[in-house]
């Protein structure tokens, strides 16, 4: 299923409130009931007419569909009267997410989205457009960020990469930026003249540290990282990108940036090793570093 093109208004924050509410409803809710409680009439009435007729109507169903596709939600029943519920496999994890700190939830979405993309690839199909677009984005150079404005560079870059199948309009680009920010893969940094999308998966990696080996050979560690977060540069996803691709064996610069920041923050230690077979190359700008071992200094609970 394509998210950017078909469920353009789906978003991680919307999934957050949906899943949190459904976590309190073991038997689930139908869409109308969900709408009543998550989209109270008072809130809607207060906003006046929507600029686009389908905007309000679509945020909830679009997010529900995406939630179902990445296997956070289940839907039972006929299309009009489907009862939505949170999957039991994630209920405890969602219920444990603090109300005012959605980072664990966003990491769950990122992992689920990645897992779903890998699943689709394994079945011989094309992964969701957002998974492809994020993977493409994360192959970019953090030292030369793209503008957040579609027509100010991104459009050309997307076309050059043959990624039109995933992103081809300002609305879809905005949705991609929204996904990238929410999933901790990029920051929208406001400079004096304009805003830039800096690819930087530091938050995503940081929130995944607890699921990674406390220490181990770099090659293994990064392979596990890609396994958990395929959009960071899993070989299979990179292979699914259209057009020419960078080396699948090298750690993308954005990931290099993330681990370097985490090293500076004292969260990781990147060590050299004599064992060349387990070494990975981190390249960022003109700086290159060979890392043999990775130690997680403080495991995330």
């Amino acid at each position: 299923m394509d998210y950017l093109k078909q469920q353009n208004l789906a978003s991680v924050p919307a999934l957050f409130v949906i899943c949190r509410y459904l976590a309190t409803r073991p038997d689930g809710e139908d869409e109308a009931a969900l709408r009543r409680v998550l989209q109270p009439r008072a809130m809607i009435a207060n906003q006046g007419p929507a600029p686009r007729d389908d905007e309000r109507r679509d945020v909830l169903p679009a997010s529900l569909e995406v939630g179902r596709d990445i296997e956070l939600l289940d839907a039972q029943g006929s299309r009009r009267e489907r009862v939505w519920s949170l999957r039991e496999s994630v209920r405890a994890e969602v219920a444990a997410v603090p109300a005012a700190d959605s980072r664990p939830f966003r990491n769950l979405v990122l992992r689920s989205l990645g897992a779903r993309a890998m699943q689709v690839i394994e079945s011989g199909e094309r992964p969701a457009d957002v998974a492809l677009a994020l993977t493409w984005l994360l192959q970019g150079d953090p030292l030369s960020p793209l503008s957040t404005s579609w027509s100010d560079g991104p459009e050309m870059a997307v076309r050059r990469s043959g990624l039109d199948l995933a992103v081809s309009s300002p609305e879809q680009w905005r949705a991609l930026v929204r996904w990238a920010r929410s999933l901790g893969l990029a920051t929208a940094t406001a400079a004096r003249q304009k805003s830039y999308l800096v690819v930087d998966p530091t938050k995503a990696v940081d929130d995944t540290l607890g699921r990674l080996p406390r220490q181990g050979p770099a090659e293994t560690w990064f392979r596990q990282l890609h396994s958990l977060l395929p959009v960071l540069g899993h070989r299979a996803l990179i292979s699914a990108l259209p057009g020419p691709r960078g080396s699948a064996t090298e750690i993308p610069a954005a990931t290099a940036l993330a681990v370097c920041k985490l090293e500076r923050a004292g969260r990781l230690r990147l060590l050299q090793s004599d064992d060349a077979s387990s070494t990975v190359v981190l390249r960022l700008g003109h700086q290159v570093r060979q890392v043999g071992e990775v130690h997680v200094v403080e495991a995330v609970a």
């Binding site: 008072a42 005012a100 959605s102 920010r181 920051t187 940094t189 090293e263 390249r283 700086q287």
Partner: protein, 1027 residues
């Protein structure tokens, strides 16, 4: 002999003190050798006077001009050397004096060096220097004038002499042929200020008359006034030259003192004059200066009517010299020395020689301003004017090098060699210390010293080493003195102070010491940590100073480091690199063509303790605020801060002033409750500011694509990481503080809860309030409150009006996206759970809002406070009313439905009314209304309700409020019914004794009455019991 330059000095502080005199006035008159050894030839313009044959240049042409007419007994020669302060005018006079042959029989030389400072000493010099041998009487008289009076009296005499000068002595100026309109206006103004002469020739209604006024007199004699300071200087052994060059200022006149015009009452001429002076005091002040110039010689006795005067002494001397066939050469290093007595001197200039008077050959130096003010009589008699138009610093390195050589050779040797040179008429008599230091052989370090510290070619000396300077350091030393550095400035600091301090510190191995920053231009173009290349430790600061001053922020020659006892060590790149450098990065970056200069040097200067300009601080604050704000990502957790309450809370918490630059930056300091990020003058913070500025203005980290040059020495990756990590850290701190301020989702829950409580207080049943949508949208109730609950009712209505839960929820608990960023979904799980908590203890909720959210949500806290207060105030009376009502209803209705009771009572009443038995006779409407109320009472009124003593009255009141009104109204209605029934019954009883034809109707009434008798009986019993 040492083998390295470590600690080497080829001068010492003593030799500097003995040889370097920046102020020619301080140079002893017998120190010509020292003076000449370092004298730098100057070039002069010669705008006035004929060009002399065999045209020489520099000082020599002044000497030639002075002596050109020697032998011409019919004409004086007056030569002026002019130029700005500190340009070396006095040096020229000094040079001429040194090159005049004192034994030349053709003239007598009177030389007045600038060292002579006080008037008394100046006169003594003149008297002693003139050849006649007289003057004792004059000096005695002047000493008496000063010694026999106290300063106050002398000051008063001076003022009186000024008044006399204004009245009698000063003459009106006549027009000249070539007078301009402006000059004419000035002249006429002056003459007008003098006043008009009366028939005796005494000028009246002029400035002199104003001086007689006590107010004006007191102002002129006031402490620290012009006259006061002048008289004080006369009593001092030494005085500053500028004390005699001062002028009267507006403060010397009582221009703003009230009452002046009153004192002038009746003197219209003076009033008019005073008004003119008040409008523009400058002409009057100039005239006062003129009067003082005339008065001082008289006051001091220089112009006594009898006995010796300066004029007399000069005349006698010139007569004596004429007799001897000699001429009088007068050399004045600074004409301004004569200040207020220059008139006596000028008189001599105007007296032409003749058969009885020797000619004068006068050379004086004077700055441009005073030169222009010389009296016309002097101006017109000047034979030559030379203007110093090239500073001795035209070749700055050579200028300093001469002094460096001088201090190395030392005063004693210079004087010996000068003496020998005069005897042998040798030209280049000063030796080059670098070439002769080792017993006539070159200094052992000369070659490497000249190579690394530098050397300059000096005319007459050869190559002179710059040590302890090198070319860069000398440039920085001179640049530090500013663009208009004078030789005097250069000598004071660049030679005297630098060499004296360097002697001590190089010897101790502590050079360059901290004060070097002040002595040298310490402007930098690169970041300190880049210059230091990661070197740290106790020597780092000293090394940094050396790298900046001697290395121009790049590198330091090993010989320089050795001489200054510096261990340079191996540099490494600044900070810890994230990754190692690969090939291309290690190559020096080729200069990229950019459109603007780097804006970073002020930041690097700030790192070195300079002030950072306000606009720079503002820029960095705005830039950092923008960058951090974009990293907060609060919207991901459903907090929105673009506008409204969210923006207000965030701005109070985090704003431009959160970036706390040191105290020299403008603006208030961050207030309490504000997140603060100190920006320190350290390498890390400077690196972050550099990175922030680069990214803010370029949006990338590509050095080749900048509009201004990439900051030299920085690696793009390291800069990016420095900024990224710091922004992350700051954003996280702001995020934590914000979440703490809004207590996570609690603020939204609180607002929803407060609104829910207000709805309950307005009479909405708690069950209805548990529906989130109803809380968000429910309009204010329009029904009225019972009197006991009126305050609480009003407070609740106000709270509902003020607290728009929709707005707060949209800001603090909603998903916002779409073109307008409006709220799309809300965090229902959290808000619903919160609502349930509030409904369990609404009063506790209000109390918590008041205590915890006054800061973050003052409007909500205020509404909660008012509501809580009103509820607590009204609760006791409401509970009393409810208790009473419940009892009334329970007892009165005796488990019957109110509607049934009302129906029966209505029937009885109607029949009684129809029978004329209803009482009170005019109470039917009230009775009917009460019955309506009874009929409308809800069926489920809890008439078994009892006050729960475990709960507070406020909580209980809120719990019963939604039915309390009905119960109280019902009880009141029941009371009306009971009263009517009781009165009607009495009327029926009374009517039983009255005969009539209404027996049948009476029986019917009795029958109905019997049906309700039980109820009425019960009501009557209750009424009796309750009184």
């Amino acid at each position: 002999m040492t083998s390295t330059m470590k600690g080497f000095r080829c001068w010492n502080a003593g030799s500097v003190r003995q040889t370097v005199y920046s102020d020619i006035g301080a140079l002893p008159s017998d120190a010509d050798a020292v003076f000449l050894a370092a004298h730098t030839p100057v070039t002069l313009a010669h705008p006035r006077g004929e060009e002399l044959p065999g045209a020489t240049s520099g000082e020599r042409q002044v000497l030639d001009a002075l002596l050109a007419s020697v032998g011409d007994v019919d004409r004086n020669t007056i030569v002026a050397v002019t130029g700005g302060s500190g340009t070396g005018k006095s040096h020229i006079v000094r040079w001429v004096n040194a090159h005049l042959d004192a034994s030349d029989a053709r003239f007598h030389v009177l030389y007045v060096p600038r060292a002579v400072q006080s008037i008394r000493e100046l006169l003594r010099r003149l008297v002693v220097g003139l050849p006649d041998g007289g003057g004792k009487e004059l000096l005695t008289r002047i000493d008496a004038a000063i010694g026999n009076t106290n300063p106050a009296e002398l000051q008063d005499r001076l003022l009186e002499e000024m008044r006399l000068a204004l009245t009698w002595t000063l003459e009106p100026q006549m027009a000249t042929d070539d007078e301009s309109a402006a000059e004419r206006a000035v002249r006429e103004e002056r003459n007008s200020l003098l006043g008009e002469p009366d028939e005796q020739g005494k000028r009246r209604d002029g400035l002199a008359d104003l001086l007689a006024l006590p107010e004006v007199n007191r102002a002129l004699l006031r402490p620290e006034g012009r006259l006061y300071r002048l008289v004080q200087s006369l009593y001092s052994e030494t005085s500053r030259r500028d004390e005699q060059q001062e002028a009267f200022t507006p403060a010397d006149l009582p221009l703003r003192q009230p009452g002046l015009r009153r004192a002038l009452a009746g003197k219209s001429g003076l009033i008019e004059l005073w008004d003119i002076i008040c409008h523009d005091p400058r002409p009057a002040l100039d005239l006062l200066d003129e009067a003082l110039r005339s008065a001082l010689p008289r006051t001091l006795g220089l112009r006594a009517h009898n006995g010796e005067t300066l004029d007399l002494l000069f005349r006698r001397s010139r007569q004596t010299l004429r007799d001897q066939g000699k001429e009088l050469v007068l050399l004045f290093e600074d004409l301004a020395q004569f200040g207020l007595i220059d008139g006596e001197l000028y008189d001599q200039f105007t007296i032409q020689p003749g058969s009885d008077l020797a000619p004068l050959r006068v050379l004086f130096a004077v700055t441009d301003g005073p030169y222009d003010k010389l009296p016309l009589t002097v101006q017109t008699r000047i034979s030559h004017r030379f203007i110093v138009n090239s500073s001795a610093l035209q070749d700055r390195e050579a200028f300093v090098a001469r002094y460096l050589n001088l201090v190395r050779v030392g005063r004693a040797e210079v004087e010996t060699r000068w003496s020998q040179a005069q005897d042998s008429d040798t030209g280049d008599w000063v030796r080059n210390a670098c070439d002769t230091r080792e017993d006539g052989l070159p200094c052992q370090f000369r070659d490497e010293c000249h190579k690394y510290f530098g050397a300059v070619e000096v005319a007459g000396l050869g190559r002179v080493g710059l040590y302890p300077y090198n070319g860069l350091a000398l440039r920085r030393a001179l640049d530090a003195r500013g663009p208009s550095v004078t030789p005097r400035d250069a000598l004071d600091v660049c030679v005297s102070e630098v060499l004296i301090e360097a002697d001590a510190h190089i010897g101790r191995g502590t050079y360059p010491h901290e004060r070097v920053r002040e002595r040298f231009d310490f402007k930098v173009q690169r970041a300190k940590d880049v210059v230091l290349g990661g070197r740290t430790g106790e020597q780092a600061e000293r090394l940094y100073r050396a790298l900046v001053v001697w290395g121009d922020e790049t590198e330091l020659a090993p010989v320089i480091a050795e001489a200054f006892s510096l261990e340079v060590g191996v540099s490494r790149s600044q900070g810890t690199p994230a990754l190692s450098k690969s090939g291309p990065q290690t190559e020096p970056r080729a200069a990229t063509k950019t459109s603007s200069p780097s804006p970073l040097p002020p930041l690097f200067q700030w790192r070195n303790d300079d002030h950072l300009a306000d606009d720079q601080v503002d820029f960095y604050r705005a830039c950092l605020l923008r960058l951090v704000n974009s990293r907060l990502d609060l919207d991901q957790d459903l907090f929105h801060t673009a506008n409204g309450e969210g923006a207000e809370i965030l701005t109070r918490l985090f704003n431009r002033m959160s970036f706390d630059f040191p105290t020299d930056a403008r603006g208030r300091r961050p207030g309490a409750g504000t997140v603060t990020f100190p920006i320190q003058r350290n390498d890390d913070d400077v690196r972050v500011l550099v990175a922030a500025r680069w990214f803010d203005e370029h949006g990338h980290w590509d050095p080749e694509r900048g509009t201004w040059p990439w900051p030299d020495g920085h690696d793009p990756v390291d800069l990016m990481l420095a900024l990224e990590c710091r922004l992350e850290q700051w954003a996280n701190e702001v995020r934590v503080a914000f979440l703490s301020k809004v207590a996570g989702r609690d603020l939204a829950r609180t607002v929803v809860g407060t609104r829910a409580v207000a709805l309950i207080a307005s009479g909405m049943p708690p069950h209805d309030v548990s529906d989130l949508d109803r809380v968000l949208s429910s309009p204010t109730s329009t029904s009225s409150a019972t009197p006991a609950w009126a305050s609480a009712w009003r407070a609740a209505a106000e709270a509902l009006r003020k607290v728009s839960a929709v707005g707060w929820v949209g800001q603090f608990a909603a998903v916002r996206q779409g073109d307008r960023g409006g709220p799309q979904l809300i965090d229902a799980a959290e808000l619903t759970a919160g609502l349930q908590t509030v409904l369990r203890s609404p009063v506790a909720h209000l109390r918590r809002v008041v205590e915890e959210f006054n800061d973050s949500a003052p409007v909500v806290a205020s509404a909660a406070r008012d509501l809580l207060s009103a509820v607590e105030q009204d609760a006791p009376s409401l509970l009393r009313d409810v208790t009473s009502a419940v009892e009334t209803l329970a007892e009165g209705l005796e488990h019957a439905e109110p509607r049934a009771v009302a129906k029966a009572a209505r029937e009885v009443g109607r029949r009684a009314r129809d029978s004329g038995l209803f009482r009170p006779a005019d109470g039917w409407n009230d009775f009917a209304e009460a019955l309506d109320t009874l009929e409308a009472l809800p069926a489920g009124l809890p008439l078994d309700w009892r006050r729960n003593e475990q709960e507070s009255e406020a909580a209980e009141a809120l719990a019963v409020e939604h039915w309390a009104g009905s119960a109280i109204a019902g009880a009141l209605a029941l009371q009306v019914v009971r009263n009517s029934m009781a009165a009607t019954r009495q009327e029926c009883v009374r009517s039983n004794s009255v005969a009539g034809d209404v027996d049948q109707r009476r029986r019917e009434v009795r029958k109905k009455l019997k049906q309700v008798e039980e109820h009425l009986q019960a009501l009557g019993t209750s009424e009796v019991r309750h009184g």
